[in-house]
Symmetry: C2
Subunit: 434 residues, 2 copies
């Protein structure tokens, strides 16, 4: 009898067995079971099906189901983590890091901070040498922490928080939520081009959410400060041109590894006073980021950096390239719908010219009768996010390309149907005597 295991496990065995039992539940490739999923009376977790699939084992497609590509839920990377199950799993003891602080009194794992610096050095997308790093609950928490820290310098009148349209809607809704005496959302950068004496805090998103374009700050002058939201500046979404070296840059695990539910992000900061104000904000807002999340993020980034550090990015790039090609091809036959123009670029990380691989399709409805583009697509059972949410008109809609395979395939099918209908209508028009 040959023993495949080289040691007997003790206290951790039960939790391992539970996790493997849950993971082995078959959900037909259209769902998955989780340890904390809805537990039936017998105490066994059940399959949580992808949208548009149903049944105890998620094997049934729901007829005429609406495909929801509103949220940018980054499930496209899930298969990568299943392929790397052994190296990405984490066993957490009941007594893991119970205390409020790390040994040095901070709320930040130094090992994770080192790993993040190494990751940026490997990818070449951001300068971290001599910079401070703060962790937050996703980029979400850091966006306002940054606004707060930058607005502290402002004089008597509140700092004006602005962004170039189309912009990520949270900049507006979050800034407005806090109703601070120190800052106020003041709309589009385009309204403020010649106002160099005003205190501005400009959100610069590059690549941009929703349209994937590389962006630069628009407002200049001694009182203009920038928050660079670099959530998508990774090799699976864009060619990496050079390391970014800005005063305040924000990244998130959500779009890097796909772990949106972990709520982990980080900011890279040049100025010490700004850094300290952000640390103070984190202290008083949540007292730092969950230790469970920091431990898991450390493990996930270790997997990302394994070998030459290219494995996950290659997986992600291939998935996104496939999707963009499919979508471009379908819509190239349409005069009713167009998508954003993106060009291939040299990428320093992969050392090759990279095709566009944006996280979102930014659709424009070109016809007068489709001016409410969201309604047009909804009628075709495609739920996107309406242009007005991004500060532009309603002829635009954002469609997520980072969802799971089932969602993408359904989206593809629905768009094919739309374009097929369009051609049919055109053909009929041609053969109808004037």
């Amino acid at each position: 009898l040959i023993r495949s295991n080289n040691s007997e496990l003790g206290w951790s065995r039960k939790a391992s067995e539970e996790a493997e039992a849950v993971a082995s539940l078959s959900c037909s490739g259209h769902g998955r079971a989780y340890l904390d999923g809805f537990v039936l009376d017998g105490g066994k977790p059940i399959c949580e099906c992808n949208s548009c699939y149903t049944g105890l084992d998620c094997s049934q497609l729901v007829p005429d189901c609406v495909v929801d590509v509103d949220s940018g839920n980054p499930i496209f990377l899930e298969p990568f983590w299943r392929q790397n199950a052994a190296s990405s799993a984490i066993m957490m003891a009941g007594w893991h890091r119970m205390g409020y602080e790390f040994e040095d009194g901070s709320l930040i794992s130094k090992e994770l901070e080192k790993k993040i610096r190494k990751l940026h050095a490997t990818v070449g997308n951001a300068v971290t040498e001599g910079r401070y790093i703060v962790f937050g609950a996703g980029s979400t928490q850091l966006l306002n922490a940054a606004v707060h820290a930058l607005a502290a310098d402002a004089s008597s009148s509140p700092a004006k928080v602005v962004a170039s349209a189309p912009y990520y809607p949270v900049y507006k809704s979050q800034t407005e939520l806090f109703e601070s005496a120190k800052f106020k959302f003041e709309g589009h950068t385009s309204s403020w081009m010649n106002s160099s004496s005003i205190n501005f805090i400009e959100f610069v998103t590059s690549p941009n959410n929703p349209d994937g374009q590389l962006k630069k700050a628009v407002l200049q002058g001694p009182n203009a400060k920038q928050i660079y939201d670099l959530a998508y500046y990774w090799p699976h979404y864009t060619a990496i041109a050079s390391p970014m070296d800005k005063d305040l840059m924000i990244f998130t695990l959500s779009k890097l590894t796909g772990h949106a539910g972990s709520r982990f992000g980080w900011a890279i900061i040049k100025n010490k006073a700004v850094y300290e104000r952000m640390v103070n904000y984190m202290d008083l807002n949540t007292y730092g980021v969950s230790r469970e999340t920091q431990l898991r993020t450390l493990k996930l980034l270790s997997v990302v950096l394994e070998g030459n550090g290219k494995q996950m990015f290659s997986f992600g790039y291939e998935a996104m390239r496939f999707r963009w090609e499919k979508l471009s091809k379908i819509l190239s036959a349409s005069k009713r719908f167009s998508i954003q123009q993106l060009t291939p670029q040299q990428c320093t990380f992969s050392n090759e010219v990279r095709a566009p691989t944006p996280a979102f399709a930014w659709i424009k409805c070109e016809k007068e009768e489709d001016k409410d583009c969201h309604a047009t697509l909804s009628a075709a059972k495609i739920i996107g996010r309406a242009g007005h949410v991004f500060g532009v008109d309603s002829t635009f809609v954002r469609l997520s390309l980072v969802n799971g395979k089932d969602d993408f395939e359904l989206l593809q099918h629905r768009l094919e149907m739309l374009v097929f209908q369009e051609r049919l209508v055109n053909l009929m028009a041609e053969f109808t005597p004037g």
Copy 2:
């Protein structure tokens, strides 16, 4: 050859072995190693020693070390989790809950919500039937979410946020941090006793931090709202008199199970509009609580509820009772230092009269020459938290009783020395001719 394991483990084995290897590192009972601890060049985590212990295996006591009982770091429960290692461990797959939302679109695990309701029903400390529940990053995040939600109803002038001194300092510092147009910290309730027309948001902490007293709201009237901070309303810190049934109650895992680093708390809310505003705040501030934390909390609360649900509370109560008795006895011999008076109370959970078991000793320096009590104790190498931080005078100091055993023993020793010195001085005075 008898196999003790009934199944071979697959993908989870490596992570289990890593965790057990780290857990088996000997740190002499004065420290522990963590998976994400400082890793030496060889890649092996090292012992993180309790304060006042040093050496690679934490075996050396640092001579004349300062004992830090400033923070209420709830490490006293750590031995309980080590005793329950198998049932409290969690194995997390690399693909565990990657998405932004749960299956129902919310940011809250329904299983965990159910578990929390069951816990309150078992302990009998809060009514949850027909109430809404919101999760937050510790009570910290929920405190401001609650202020935000209650202030939304206020008229043109900002709501006045108040508390009865001595009060938990975060109420003030957090409210001031946000510099909101809608609310403002306005000090002690005692200044506002006859102002019933004003919009108040009163923090009521019961048992109170720092002094362990049971408290009630002080300000009355149609425009007075309360946030009940019930962090310590659990059977290891106080007798449970009856289930609390207030409009807005906040609890935290930190003091319940000792997992302060997990940053998990919850609010129980009667009013639907208030609940919805708190949900909106959580959405825009952090987009919910980490899925890793929610999974682990579910596991920990399952252990708390095992059997008759009394095991952890008994462990905690015995530890706190032992400490309070020791401290009371030492200080009963002193006229220089006094501690708060607390009386035994009938507890509905344990069905017996319970001795006082507060989380903090609230020390008063009784002599004129010790009016800076914090300085007096610091000189004796005891770091507490100064009274002025809690809104009272500096003759008071808070000492944490929830820290690890090493900290408590050192505190006990230092206080014994102080009281011994006091008696020596008194004796010498007696024998010195006037």
